[in-house]
Symmetry: none
Subunit: 222 residues, 4 copies
DNA sequence: TATGAATGAGGCTTCATTCAT
DNA sequence: AATGAATGAAGCCTCATTCAT
């Protein structure tokens, strides 16, 4: 019955949220994600987060303990959602080069459309990964991320189109670097060198180059 | 003139910092750089900065106005020093491919050995470049950075070894991305995928790959 | 009647606490006694008490009204139990001096083995007895405690071994002071003067002295 | 000059306290002593303390760090003042029995007229001496307290009027217990047994008895 | 009788900044 | 040019208690 109420009353405006723990929590997390991504851990304000929430400040502490607890959960959820998005990508039936191409394009676009996630990762790196290191998600993140690349590399090597000494992890680093920097350093890069690379055409061009570079790095040249 | 005062009065013992405005300022800036790089703008504490300084909190406000003023100056000095380091690099007499190789290697190493600068740039990007945009350094930063690449590209194209459609700015973006990410995301990357790529051997390998990729991207393949 | 329910329904397994009001209440009181004794009225936490209970926070409010109501009941129960312990002491058939000796020894030991009670009394004194004064137990507490001493004194005077001007209440004050202080101030006394008086030998010696002093104070010296 | 201003302006109402650190601190300590003695560590309110002060809440944190830091200082000052009061007592020229009598009378009266100190010690014992144990005053407290008794005992034994097996520390424990309990447990004792022992006559009687008991305990009976 | 969710008021503490000398 | 003292505003968090079911 609670669940029914949840389904029917959710989002019906003030008052409809009572006794909907899951709703309250996800509401808080959504707001907090935006605030932390926008202002960092130290810069975010609990009052501000609470105000933008459908509940009270008290409930944040009820469910998340304290500011760091909330930040930790925000970080975990962000990683989880992103990895979940990656899981939907099916490249197993493509030939290695096309699979790699697809993966790079996907990663580039995926980063591009998840700037809040990128910002949270930047913030977490500012903190030397202190909070991610406390999460027991760590183990599972690894798996999903490189597995696909490993599979592609294996097939590419077996079919003789990829170099034998390709290291999937290095490849992953490469793809990540190019896709991540594109989002993370947009502000300063634009300020110093102009917006050209961030126009639609500029981004399309960069995307093409990134794919080219990565593929050319992986394939056997003869 | 300021530098003269700095040279002559510095180090006159315990009370020797009095009456040395330049020395006081550079002392404050050094401490503040470390603190802002370590904790971000919101995370840094004026008290902490003052305590680690040879002077008092009052002097910080005297010379830099307020926290943001201090941060702005820290940011500017950091950019200035890094660009200054780049200026010492002389590649004009090398053939294009070797020049490009040298530039990439230098950039990779330079980023690697200036993590505080990287962190400041990350922090500034978190703030959407709000403070860098106020600086009148912006115009000059552009120059130094891409000029060398433009020269190399020009020569490379003239000599027929570089592709004709190579865009020096895109090339700069590429080199920066790979060099920057290597430092900026070390914490989270290591946590998720282990320290392997950050061992001496791992870094040497990445460095080689980065050079390979960039050069292979620039040169004409036939 | 309450005790009957308590005896028959208690311990019927995991969910066995349901429908056992007396059991629930004594469970709460036991936990609350420990918490209040450990942390004082202001220092104790309702959440903490509830968490250590087999029931929920709601039940505490249901049975005891509020924090002060719970504290009041804890205090009353503590006094009641201690006075009950005293009731088991039978000294009527001993000669006055031996009876007094026995009473002092018992009091000294009884305090020593009920530190939580001592702490509750300390706490109540910090509150100027504000809660004890609300209890209608007050009248009955008096009785038990001094009655025995009065009887002993009466016999001691009649037999000519006690001084005629001995005041039983003063005697009680004396015995209480020495027995109470031994427990109440153990922490600070040990810190300042060392643990010597609180070793087994030290306590035995103090106990002997206390008996000696009190008896020597009561008896007629000639 | 600062000191002059201090002397002349102190206590001249609002505004006269500026730039008088010592005055500010002792003002805070006086207020805090009363509040902690009245309400305990957990029960005292920083806002309440600040309000009764001539300064602001902020200054409390400026000088004492946090609530526990303030409490610690209050405790230390309380012990220091009491021990200082004891130091003024000169018993060296009296014969042993009179000296001991004087010491007991003084202790009884001193405790009686310093109820706030007694309450602070009670509170500290509730906390198991956790804060006193952090103080480096501990060593010095010991000395002052028992030294006088040791001297008296030495002389008493040498002159043959005191028992040879008298332990000055046990004697101190005895005197303290009786003097302390008289103040610490006044509230509950009065509630249960009436105010009789706390009337002027009652206190005089108790005082006499305490002296009698202690002296009779120390002297050689033949 | 029982429970998890919810809450308003108020607690402690910290911040960047300014004042008086 | 320099310093310790001082500050108001705002930060994070916890408390006893009640509500909805």
């Amino acid at each position: 019955m609670v669940e029914v109420a949840l389904e029917t009353e959710r989002g019906t405006g003030r008052g409809g949220w009572k006794q909907d723990p899951a709703g309250v929590q996800s509401d808080i997390l959504a707001v907090a994600t935006a605030e932390f991504a926008a202002n960092g851990l130290a810069g975010a304000r609990m009052d501000e987060i609470a105000a933008k929430t459908r509940t009270s400040k008290r409930m944040i502490y009820y469910y998340f303990g304290d500011k760091e607890g909330l930040y930790r959960r925000v970080l975990e959820e962000a990683y989880r959602k992103v990895r979940e998005g990656e899981r939907n990508l099916d490249l197993e039936n493509l030939p290695p080069v096309e699979a790699l191409t697809g993966l790079v394009e996907f990663t580039f676009d995926h980063h591009s459309s998840n700037p809040d996630f990128i910002r949270l990762v930047m913030i977490e790196n500012i903190h030397h990964g202190a909070f991610l290191s406390q999460s027991n998600l760590i183990g599972s993140l690894n798996a999903g991320a490189v597995e696909k690349l490993e599979a592609i590399c294996r097939r590419g090597k077996k079919e003789g189109v990829f170099r034998d000494d390709i290291d999937p992890l290095e490849l992953h680093w490469l793809i990540s670097a190019l896709s991540f920097f594109n989002v993370s350093n947009r502000a300063t890069f634009s300020l110093i060198f102009g917006e050209r690379l961030y126009s639609a055409a500029g981004q399309a061009s960069l995307r093409r180059h990134v794919v080219t570079m990565v593929v050319r790095f992986a394939v056997k040249l003869d």
